[in-house]
């Protein structure tokens, strides 16, 4: 295959996990008919700019349940999850497309409720809905594709020994909500909000690129999974001290229930949609970041020689699961 695209961008290595084994299988199968798989976004070079593209699917009973959140929240959350990949690339959103599958029993009011959430997230990102498709099906399902642009894309490749690892915002909220729902209890309002209404860190991602980020990834598979992707893609050792993680409200109580530390709980929380970023050791802009972006930026680890991720708690390495929809 000689692609029409003048400059397909190479893909990245992924960390361990059943879902990622399947993606590796697809990459082997496609060979040169794929470009850029294994990163947050695919990239198309256009002059001195790049278009960044990513697609994200949310399926009822897998990613959400309608006794947990409403359809407007489903639309917001699915769209924000896709926009989060643009944030991790440091890209500015340009538009999005939206393929909706709805149960045949549902009508136009439900569809419009879902789309009002998609529209709200599109408005938040100033990225108009450029297209879509509609089908019936057994459950609600939403595939959102986002398009962004950037002159300096940041990928998962590029972290260097000596860098420091930082994370935006606070972790564990989405999992805290899930754990409560799984016990058939109402989560705390803060944890519920983190699950139902994540904000894609678009401004934060661009700020971090402007301030020298070497590599970046958004936390959709949990820090336990995504730190391993970053380590595999950059070919470095990533070392994270779980006691330094910024912990979201409502997490401590849920961690205590499970008899684990809040840091361990938060590191295994999927779909927090914060950014994990490798910055050079000289970076000293955390206060400016907080002031300009309105969310926290916390130093949580270091980058060294190697090609894996180590998670430390009370000075000892512990095993961590990622968050794997196929696990």
């Amino acid at each position: 295959v000689i692609p029409n695209s003048p400059n397909p961008v190479q893909g990245s290595a992924l960390g361990p996990g059943a879902e990622f084994d399947r993606i590796r299988g697809i990459m082997r199968l496609l060979g040169d008919r794929a470009a850029g798989l294994g990163d947050d976004c695919g990239l198309i070079r256009e002059g001195d700019e790049f278009f960044a593209l990513s697609t994200d699917v949310s399926v009822e009973q897998v990613h959400f349940r309608l006794d947990w959140i409403g359809l407007r929240e489903v639309g917001w959350r699915a769209t924000s999850a896709a926009l989060s990949d643009l944030a991790a690339e440091g890209a500015e959103p340009v538009g999005l497309l939206c393929a909706v599958t709805m149960p045949s029993g549902a009508g136009e009011p439900e569809l419009l409720e879902l789309m009002s959430g998609v529209g709200a997230a599109a408005g938040f990102a100033r990225a108009p809905v450029l297209g879509g498709d509609l089908s019936t099906g057994p459950v609600w399902s939403l595939a959102i594709t986002v398009v962004g642009r950037t002159r300096a894309p940041i990928t998962r490749v590029g972290a260097q020994p000596g860098d420091r690892l930082w994370v935006t915002g606070a972790l564990g909220g989405a999992r805290a909500a899930l754990e409560a729902w799984r016990r058939s209890e109402e989560p705390s309002s803060e944890a519920r909000e983190r699950f139902a209404h994540p904000e894609p860190r678009l401004a934060a991602g661009r700020w971090l690129v402007r301030h020298g980020a070497h590599a970046m990834i958004d936390l959709s598979d949990g820090l336990g999974g995504d730190a391993r992707h970053l380590a595999a893609a950059s070919g470095v050792l990533v070392e994270i001290d779980l006691e330094t993680l910024p912990i979201a409200a409502g997490v401590a109580a849920e961690a205590e229930r499970l008899g684990i530390s809040p840091g361990e709980f938060a590191a295994e929380s999927g779909e927090d949609y914060e950014l994990l970023v490798a910055l050079p050791s000289r970076f000293d802009g955390a206060d400016a970041f907080v002031q300009e972006c309105g969310i926290g930026l916390t130093r949580i680890g270091t980058v060294g020689e190697g090609s894996r991720a180590r998670f430390l708690s009370a000075g000892k390495e512990i095993g961590l699961k990622g968050f794997d929809h196929f696990g």
Copy 2:
């Protein structure tokens, strides 16, 4: 909303139908948070070029059944359906993204079979797979998003009174296969091939743009539906003589079974993925088209003053249904 996109391109009016009522509802809801809905592709202007984007979802039991076609064919067909929207825009494919939902009982071999079909269509279009997402779900579902580029996008808007209407290839094959399967019979091999292995008319679409096409649309909703979209978008009367339609192999026998003419049968066939194009009356390149593109180009009607579509059989107007997944 002030979109980040410098030049969002306006959307188009749609023809009648339950599915299109829902899309109209979404367009009203989104207001200026949408741009370009109601055409084959959304467009982003970039200097003197346009990026064209379209998304298309294929759901098991709605768009296909696995006792009809295999997973490799599902992957080819879904990808070709999405690429067909680029063909209708006259755009050159640049890449595609692929969100796959698979039943939890299915394994990597089935996933790779599906992706081999996606990869074959990507190879055909010389458009690498730039990204994707994987989930489990109750049935197989595939959302394909395609990206193309063009300097001169052709939309459904622009047909002018006095133009002639032409259609590529031959019509009705996909429906002929469906009718046989619905009787639990094997379709003819030609009809089966048209359903399972449609070829996106990419070279044909670009040829037609170079030779003066005023408006174009791909036939996914059937001529009965798509001619109405073209009429509504261009604000013209579209008049089609069903006796002039090019009829695919295997169609005549199926039409006879239903007691309707082959033309009427073919005009209500969804998902043939041929192109309907309005060309100026002076156009005389049909022979050159056949020679250069390797498929037929047939004159089937005229464009006049008005804003609807009329379908004539034996000189009399007849009512036609479109092919509507919500009908």
